[in-house]
């Protein structure tokens, strides 16, 4: 469903991604690990079309369509979702209005009528429960005054509302205590369908214990330098990244 070929990208004139190749099939979970600055967040930002990043080479196909030619909102409508590392606050915009605008934009794209208020609020109530999000949050402004954990739960809640097929979790586990991590991860698992794929960016094994990735990739200097199964994440948890750096390139 997602086919990344020789992807190069720059931010602020500096090349961060130096030839990423990655193919993700429906239902697969791919973990992306690597030290800070390796290009993990750049990859996720490039995929969702953040305007600060420029693709200089390569291609990305999403369900056979040219992802890089689409606007960020079109990418969202096609089923791509990013759970932000640092969700931004939007003062004065209630979660209800925000989600309603988002969901109805998607429905419009799909040629459907907007959901009426009653049906929409009912859907919000249902989906909120999946991540045990407080009902009061629905009336608060988007992420404003939310704790770190609430913000992350709010990201998964939005995922529940929009039902994407390709999710990118960018350090969704960072800043979460054990209980919050469990709620977020189990919430994600409840939402998964056999067709849902994900890229999970993380530094820790904890999240992967819940999400059970099919593949683990190590990013280094803007390239994927090693790919393995779940056991690779365990190994990194124990040994760090330094041993990967010293591997001869032929073993990559």
């Amino acid at each position: 469903m997602l086919e990344i070929k020789n992807l190069h990208a720059t931010v602020g004139g500096k090349e961060i991604l130096k030839g990423i190749d990655l193919t993700i099939k429906p239902g697969e979970i791919h973990a992306l690990m690597g030290q800070n600055g390796a290009g993990k967040s750049t990859l996720s930002n490039v995929l969702v079309g953040h305007p600060a990043y420029t693709v200089t080479e390569g291609s990305v196909l999403f369900n056979g369509k040219d992802l890089l030619a689409m606007s960020p909102d079109e990418r969202a409508h096609e089923g791509l979702f990013l759970s932000f590392q640092q969700p931004v606050e939007i003062p004065g915009v209630s979660m209800v209005n925000f989600m309603r605008a988002a969901l109805n934009a998607k429905r419009k794209y799909q040629g459907l009528d907007p959901l009426d208020a009653t049906a929409f609020l009912k859907l919000m109530r249902e989906r909120r429960k999946i991540v045990e999000l407080d009902g009061k949050l629905a009336n608060r402004s988007v992420n404003e005054g939310f704790s770190g954990g609430e913000k992350k739960r709010n990201e998964i809640f939005q995922m529940a509302m929009l039902e994407p097929t390709m999710c990118i979790l960018d350090e969704t586990d960072s800043g979460l205590d054990v209980d919050a991590l469990r709620i977020v991860a189990e919430g994600f698992n409840k939402l998964r369908t056999p067709e849902t794929s994900a890229i999970v960016i993380t530094h820790y094994q904890r999240l992967l214990d819940y999400l059970k990735p099919d593949f683990v990739h190590v990013l280094l200097g803007g390239r994927i330098v090693k790919t393995g199964g779940p056991e690779l994440a365990m190994e990194i948890e124990q040994r760090g990244f330094d041993w990967i750096k010293t591997l001869p390139s032929s073993s990559i």
């Binding site: 969702v48 079309g49 953040h50 305007p51 600060a52 606007s71 960020p72 909102d73 990418r75 969202a76 409508h77 979702f81 990013l82 932000f84 969700p87 931004v88 939007i90 003062p91 004065g92 915009v93 209005n97 925000f98 989600m99 605008a101 988002a102 969901l103 934009a105 998607k106 794209y109 402004s141 988007v142 939005q158 929009l162």
Partner: protein, 515 residues
């Protein structure tokens, strides 16, 4: 009674001519990424929904302004001598005055002799319409099109309307129903005829004709506007509103509104305005006076959507307005809420004189400027009595090449023991070519007073926009959403139906402005 002349209400004179640079928060000239500029260019054409004209037989007097013009207007309206005298005094005073230049505005030269000062679209019916059947169907259609049906059965629930086109009130709805409770709601021309004692008592008592250049002009040539009187202890059961429409070419509109809210009474009043698209500037110089007696409360809301001119800055209404409320009685309350999205130039400072002990005043403002629009708007809070409180919340939103200034005065007189003011002035910039400015003035004569002022300037954040887009909300809609969120504190002060309209208006006014 307080004589407002004594407390130096001269808006034109009390503003220091040199701008306090330290207080000026100018934030312009930052670069935006190329991608967004391209986006702006592609969608920057803003559409003005109310730019149509009405083809109706209108009696327009000859252009030009002399004493004879003033006499002619007064005669057309069949006014008593005292009012003609009032007009003439104002006119003679106006002749001695210069147009003020202290605003942060590039004002086009106004040729006061090139304007017609009276245009009557109801002239065909000599005596003026007495019932709905007599109103010209073209006028009915016009107000229908503006969303202001003049038939009571079609009216917005709970809202009475005085509909003013050019110089004349076309129709005031629900008058009889309101009269059952002793409430007077009619055009000011009718009030002069039917309640001369009330008009004479209060006209010019809050904004004297000597107040400023435009106040003198208005006092000389004012045509129509609304008159409201809420008797003691009455809570007005409906929202009262006036809809101002400029239609005729080459005319100015000189609205005059007077609201008196007697002891323990309450009223919520709304004002809306639109004008056709024309290449020339049109002058709108209004006065609104409000008197609030003991324990009474007045809420005054404005959604100002005069034609703003085209995207190159051609045409548009010059909106030069003096609005002031006198909180005369103890524990009286007055709140101004304004959403300013229209006009080529806005020069407007709805103010409060807190003369009653314990009186409370509020000013909530959202001012949006786009393309070449200029706004210099704010308020004055004059604390004269002990325990008076005022709140100022101002949100400026600038886009395109526009200039948007907040100008506010907080004055605490020596006798205003324990007075409090809180001011918060925020500016949001949507482009790199626009300007946002804040000119706060403070004059505190009582050491027990607490006066607080906060100001921020921010650019619409790329991260906020992107967050919305990642969730599937298109960029333009995202701008509307974020701006409405930014203005929420003010919008939620508006009556419900108005708030919905205002929200839509904010989004439309800013279509395609991120850059």
């Amino acid at each position: 009674m307080i004589n407002t002349d004594d407390i130096e209400q001269k808006a034109g004179e009390q503003q220091p001519s040199a701008r306090p640079d330290a207080a000026e928060l100018q934030a312009a000239g930052e670069r935006q990424p190329e991608g967004q500029n391209a986006f702006v260019r592609s969608v920057v054409d803003k559409t003005y929904e109310y730019g149509f004209t009405t083809d109706v037989e209108t009696e327009v007097i000859d252009r030009g302004l002399t004493e004879d013009t003033v006499r002619l207007i007064s005669q057309k309206k069949g006014e008593p001598d005292w009012l003609l005298e009032f007009r003439l005094k104002a006119f003679r005073y106006w002749l001695t005055q210069e147009q003020p230049t202290w605003g942060h505005l590039k004002m086009p030269e106004i040729d006061y002799q090139a304007i017609s000062y009276y245009a009557d679209p109801t002239a065909k019916k000599k005596s003026g319409p007495k019932s709905l059947e007599e109103i010209d169907p073209e006028l009915m259609k016009t107000f229908d099109k503006l969303g202001i049906p003049l038939e009571e059965r079609l009216a917005l629930s709970g809202t009475a309307v005085d509909a003013v086109m050019d110089s004349v009130s076309v129709k005031t709805t629900f008058r009889e129903k309101l009269a059952e409770q002793g409430i007077i709601f009619c055009s000011i021309s009718e009030a002069v005829r039917e309640h001369p004692e009330l008009v004479r008592k209060y006209l010019g008592s809050v904004v004297p004709y000597r107040d400023n250049f435009f106040a003198a002009l208005n006092s000389a040539v004012f045509s129509d506007g609304s008159f409201v009187y809420i008797p003691k202890g009455v809570r007005c059961p409906m929202e009262l509103s006036t809809y101002f429409r400029i239609n005729a070419q080459g005319t100015g509109q000189f609205e005059r509104t007077l609201i008196v809210c007697d002891e323990d009474a309450y009223v919520s009043y709304l004002e809306g305005c639109t004008a056709p698209m024309r290449d020339e500037n049109q002058l709108h110089a209004a006065i609104v006076e409000i008197v609030v007696e003991a324990r009474a409360e007045v809420k005054y809301s404005t959604v100002q959507n005069w034609y703003p001119g085209d995207k190159d800055g051609r045409g548009g209404v010059l909106n030069l307005v003096t609005k002031r409320g006198l909180l005369r009685g103890q524990d009286s309350k007055l709140s101004w809420t304004q959403v300013e999205t229209g006009s080529a130039i806005t020069w407007k400072y709805p103010s409060c004189v807190l003369a009653g002990e314990g009186s409370q005043a509020e000013f909530y403002s959202v001012a949006v400027t786009n393309n070449h629009q200029q706004a210099d708007t704010g308020t004055k809070m004059i604390h004269l009595a002990p325990r008076t409180r005022s709140t100022i919340i101002s949100k400026g939103i600038s886009a395109g090449r526009s200039q948007n200034s907040y100008r506010g005065l907080v004055r605490v007189a020596a006798k205003a023991e324990g007075a409090r003011n809180y001011s918060s002035c925020d500016s949001l910039l949507l482009s790199s070519a626009c300007g946002a400015h804040t000119f706060p003035y403070m004059d505190v004569q009582n050491p027990t007073a607490v006066v607080e002022h906060e100001a921020t300037t921010s650019k619409i954040s790329e991260d906020q926009l992107f967050y919305c887009q990642q969730r599937g909300i298109p960029q333009e809609e995202a701008v509307g959403l974020i701006v409405n969120g930014y203005a929420k504190d003010v919008l939620q002060k508006l009556p419900m139906e108005f708030a919905v309209e205002a929200q839509k208006l904010l989004s439309v006014s800013l279509e395609g402005t991120v850059g």
